[in-house]
C-alpha cells in the first residue's frame, strides 16, 4: 500500500514537474494583459495585467525576464518571468510594436513605425544608444544568430534593410514583395525568410548576397488569394521545417526548409498572427487574433492538437522552459 501511494505521489510529482516544465506567455492586445498557459495540459493558468496595448514579447536568454512592448504606454516593460511583476522599463521610443533581442540578450532593437526608426537599446543600462533611420513604417525585425545582422522590414518602402551590428548603420537593402511583415534567420544564418502580406508570398533571401533566391506563393486550394496574408515566420533549428502564419486565411503553412516547397497547410484559429516553438521544438504555438485563442500544433505529426481560449486579441507569444 505504502509503496503504491509513494508510486502515485512520485508519478504526480513527475507530472507536476512536466507541467511546470513549460509555460507559454501571450500578449493580449485588447485586454492589456499577459495570458499564461500550460501548453502540456492545454490550459490557461492565469492572466496578468501588464499595461496598455501589449504586442511584441521576448524572453531573455537566461529565461529570467520577459520584455513586453506596451505600445500605448510608449515603453518596453521588463517583467520578472517567475512572478510576472514589472521590474523595469526600457526607453523604446513611441508606439513600440515589434522588437528583437540579440543572442546575448543585452541589446534590444525596436521598430518605431511612426518615426521610421530602429531604436537600439542597451538593456543592462536601460538606455537608448542609437537610432537608425530606416524606410517608411518599419515592422518586422530580426537579429542573426551570430549577431552580425539586424534586419528591419519597412512595410511601405518594401525593403529589407541590413544593419551592421557593429556600426549600427545600414549597409545594404533588398527590395522585397509589398508590405513585408516578418523576418527570421535560419539557425546557420545563411538564409533570411521574409513574409509579404500583400503579395501572399514567402521570400527566401541569401544572407551572403542579400538577394532573393526563391519566392514561394502561398496559394491555398479553395481560399481566395485576398485572404492569403502571411505574417509570422519561424524555422526550426535543424532547418527541416519552416512555418508561416497566414493571417485571415486561418492557416499555418508547413514549408520543407530543405526543398523550399510547401508541404501542407494546417487549419488553426482565425487571423493567425505570430508563432513560437516550444523549447524542445516539438510543438508550435500560434496566436489567433480574431478567435481569441492559441492553437497548439504537434510538430512530429504536423497536426493541430488543441486550442486554448486566452482573451481578446492575442498578439505576441513566447515559450519558457
Amino acid at each position: 500500500m505504502r509503496q503504491g501511494f509513494l508510486g502515485i505521489a512520485l508519478v504526480a510529482m513527475l507530472l507536476g514537474v512536466t507541467v511546470q516544465a513549460e509555460t507559454v506567455i501571450v500578449t493580449l492586445e485588447k485586454d492589456n494583459a499577459l495570458a499564461v498557459i500550460d501548453p502540456v495540459a492545454g490550459k490557461l493558468i492565469k492572466t496578468i495585467e501588464v499595461g496598455q496595448r501589449p504586442r511584441g514579447i521576448a524572453l531573455s536568454p537566461d529565461n529570467k525576464f520577459l520584455y513586453v512592448a506596451t505600445s500605448d504606454d510608449n515603453t518596453v516593460k521588463i517583467i520578472d518571468a517567475e512572478s510576472y511583476q514589472e521590474v523595469g522599463q526600457l526607453p523604446s521610443g513611441e508606439d513600440p510594436e515589434t522588437f528583437a533581442l540579440n543572442p546575448a540578450g543585452d541589446r534590444l532593437y525596436v521598430s518605431n513605425e511612426d518615426d521610421y526608426l530602429v531604436t537600439v537599446i542597451d538593456v543592462v543600462n536601460k538606455k537608448a544608444i542609437a537610432e537608425i533611420k530606416v524606410g517608411i513604417e518599419p515592422e518586422g525585425i530580426a537579429v542573426s544568430h551570430d549577431n552580425q545582422w539586424v534586419v528591419s522590414a519597412s512595410e511601405t518602402t518594401n525593403m529589407i534593410h541590413w544593419i551592421d551590428v557593429k556600426s549600427n548603420t545600414i549597409v545594404d537593402n533588398t527590395l522585397v514583395d509589398p508590405r513585408p511583415r516578418a523576418a527570421s534567420f535560419t539557425q546557420d544564418n545563411s538564409q533570411l525568410w521574409v513574409t509579404s502580406e500583400m503579395a501572399g508570398t514567402l521570400m527566401i533571401l541569401d544572407v551572403a548576397s542579400k538577394q532573393i533566391i526563391k519566392t514561394i506563393k502561398l496559394d491555398i486550394p479553395s481560399v481566395s488569394m485576398d485572404k492569403v496574408q502571411p505574417v509570422g515566420v519561424v524555422i526550426d533549428k535543424e532547418r527541416r521545417w519552416g512555418y508561416v502564419a497566414i493571417g485571415p486565411a486561418n492557416r499555418v503553412a508547413v514549408i520543407n526548409a530543405q526543398t523550399l516547397e510547401v508541404e501542407k497547410f494546417l487549419l488553426v484559429g482565425q487571423r493567425v498572427w505570430n508563432l513560437a516553438f516550444s523549447p524542445d521544438q516539438k510543438r508550435l504555438y500560434t496566436t489567433n487574433g480574431r478567435s481569441n485563442d492559441v492553437s497548439i500544433i504537434d510538430l512530429e505529426n504536423h497536426k493541430v492538437v488543441k486550442s486554448v481560449a486566452v482573451g481578446r486579441f492575442p498578439w505576441g507569444i513566447v515559450s519558457k522552459p
Partner: protein, 434 residues
C-alpha cells in the same frame, strides 16, 4: 538583479545615423519619373453648416505624401520621382493649361477633375501616350459606356458604394428601403446606383421620394421631415444628397425611428477619419502631421495613384508607359491600401478594386465586401460592375499582356500541383468505380 546596478549618471551616446542611400551603388544619375498632378480650383459650394471647413486642395497632399514614400524606396533603387503641380484657377481652361504645362515627356498624370473635363483631356491627341489616374470621380458611366483606355480610377464608383451598403443591409436584414434623393444630377446618379444595388441584392425599395423642399434647417426641418417621412413602413432610409444640402436633417427627425444611410448617416466611402484598422492609423497620423487636417477621400485617391506608380516603376525598373501600364493591369500588381486586402486594377475598366468602408460620424461600422459574399475570383469583385456586367469595351486595356516578373519556381509548382491533383482524382475514381 542587474536592474539594481544602473549607474545614475550615465552619459547617453545618442547617435542618429542617416539613411545610407547606398550612394556608391548608384553613382550614375537616377532614373527620373515625372508625374503631374492636375486639378482645378473650386468655388466653395453652399453648405449646410460651417461645421466642416471647406478644403480647397483635397487630393494634393495625398499625392505629395505618396511621392515622398516613393522617393524613399527610390533612394535604394536609383529612381527619382518628380511631382509637378498644376492648379487651374476657377473659370480657367483646363485643356489649354494641360497642353501648355504638361511636358511631352510627362506621361503619368494624377487628376482631381470632374468626369467631363477628364474625358476631354483623355481624348486629346497629345494624351494618347499618357496615363491618367483619376483620383476623384465616382461616376459609373466613366467606368462603363464612357470609359477610356488611358484612365485608371482610384476611388470606388457609386455602384461599388451602393453594393457595399446593400451587402451590409442584407446582413442586418434591413431589407425595406426608403430612398430619398435630392434634385441635383449627382443625386440622381447616386439614386440610380442604389436602385441597381437593391435589385442586385434583393432589397425592396418600398418608397422613393425626391426632396424638393427648402434647405434651411432653422425654418422647416423640424416640421417638414416628419411629414415627408410619414406613412411609410421601411427599415432604413437611404438618402442621396451628395453635396450635403438636406441629408443631415433626416436623422432624429423622421416620423419613424429608423437609421439613415447613403450620402449621410452610415456612409459607404473609400476612406474615413474613423478608420484605424490594418495599419491605417499610421497613414492617418502621417497625413495629419503633413497636412494639418484629416485625410479625405480625394487625398486617399491621389495617394493610391502615386503609390501605384511607385510600385510599377520600382518593380519594372522602368519609366516607360507601356511597361508601367502592363504591370499595373497585370496579375503581379498588389497595392497596400491600408484596408486589409491587396488592391489591384480591374483590367476591363481600369477601376481599382478595393474594400469600401461603411462609416458613421464617429465610428467605422464595417468594411465591405461583407463576409459571406463570395466570388469565383476575388470577393472584391462583388462590389460594382463585374466583368460580365461591364459595358466598357476598353479593348486596349484588355489586350495589354501582363508583364510577368520572373519568380523562381512559382509557375512550375502550380503546374505540378494541378497535375498531382488530377492524378489523385483519377486514382480516386479508379478505386471507387472498380
Amino acid at each position: 538583479m542587474f536592474l539594481m546596478k544602473i549607474p545614475v549618471t550615465q552619459i547617453v551616446f545618442f547617435i542618429v545615423i542617416g539613411l545610407v542611400a547606398t550612394g556608391s551603388a548608384y553613382a550614375e544619375p537616377p532614373q527620373i519619373i515625372k508625374i503631374s498632378y492636375l486639378t482645378q480650383e473650386q468655388k466653395p459650394p453652399t453648405a449646410l453648416s460651417n461645421l466642416d471647413a471647406f478644403i480647397q486642395h483635397k487630393g494634393l497632399m495625398g499625392a505629395k505624401i505618396a511621392v515622398d514614400d516613393n522617393n524613399t524606396t527610390g533612394q535604394f533603387t536609383g529612381q527619382k520621382f518628380e511631382l509637378t503641380i498644376i492648379i487651374v484657377p476657377v473659370g480657367g481652361d483646363v485643356v489649354q493649361q494641360f497642353q501648355q504645362q504638361v511636358s511631352s515627356d510627362t506621361v503619368l498624370i494624377i487628376t482631381n477633375l470632374p468626369a467631363q473635363k477628364l474625358t476631354q483631356l483623355a481624348d486629346l491627341d497629345s494624351a494618347k501616350e499618357k496615363l491618367f489616374f483619376d483620383a476623384s470621380t465616382t461616376d459609373d458611366d466613366l467606368r462603363n459606356s464612357q470609359c477610356r483606355n488611358n484612365i485608371l480610377h482610384m476611388l470606388p464608383s457609386r455602384a461599388m458604394r451602393a453594393d457595399a451598403l446593400a451587402q451590409y443591409m442584407m446582413k442586418k436584414r434591413w431589407n425595406k428601403w426608403f430612398l430619398v434623393s435630392g434634385m441635383k444630377t449627382e443625386d440622381q446618379l447616386y439614386a440610380q446606383a442604389i436602385r441597381r444595388a437593391a435589385n442586385r441584392f434583393g432589397m425592396k425599395l418600398v418608397a422613393e421620394k425626391q426632396w424638393t423642399h427648402t434647405y434651411d434647417a432653422r425654418r422647416t426641418a423640424q416640421s417638414d421631415i416628419p411629414v415627408f417621412t410619414q406613412g411609410i413602413d421601411y427599415d432604413v432610409l437611404i438618402v442621396a444628397d451628395e453635396q450635403g444640402l438636406f441629408g443631415e436633417y433626416i436623422e432624429y427627425r423622421s416620423w419613424n425611428p429608423r437609421p439613415v444611410a447613403g450620402t449621410q448617416g452610415l456612409v459607404p466611402t473609400a476612406w474615413h477619419k474613423t478608420h484605424e484598422q490594418w495599419g491605417a492609423v499610421q497613414i492617418q497620423n502621417r497625413f495629419k502631421t503633413l497636412a494639418g487636417r484629416n485625410m479625405q477621400e480625394q487625398d486617399y485617391g491621389a495617394y493610391l495613384a502615386a503609390r501605384s506608380i511607385g510600385e510599377a516603376v520600382v518593380r519594372t525598373k522602368s519609366n516607360q508607359l507601356s511597361k508601367i501600364k502592363s504591370y499595373l493591369l497585370g496579375d503581379e500588381f498588389a497595392l497596400q491600401g491600408y484596408k486589409g486586402n491587396p488592391l489591384s486594377f480591374r483590367s476591363w475598366n481600369g477601376q481599382l478594386r478595393q474594400p469600401v468602408l461603411l462609416a458613421a460620424a464617429r465610428s467605422m461600422v464595417t468594411a465591405a465586401p461583407v463576409e459571406g459574399f463570395l466570388h469565383p475570383k476575388t470577393e472584391l469583385d462583388t462590389l460594382g460592375f463585374d466583368q460580365p456586367e461591364s459595358s466598357c469595351n476598353k479593348t486596349e486595356l484588355e489586350q495589354v499582356k501582363p508583364v510577368i516578373v520572373e519568380k523562381q519556381g512559382t509557375s512550375g509548382e502550380a503546374e505540378s500541383r494541378i497535375q498531382n491533383f488530377i492524378q489523385r482524382l483519377k486514382n480516386y475514381y479508379n478505386t471507387k468505380w472498380k
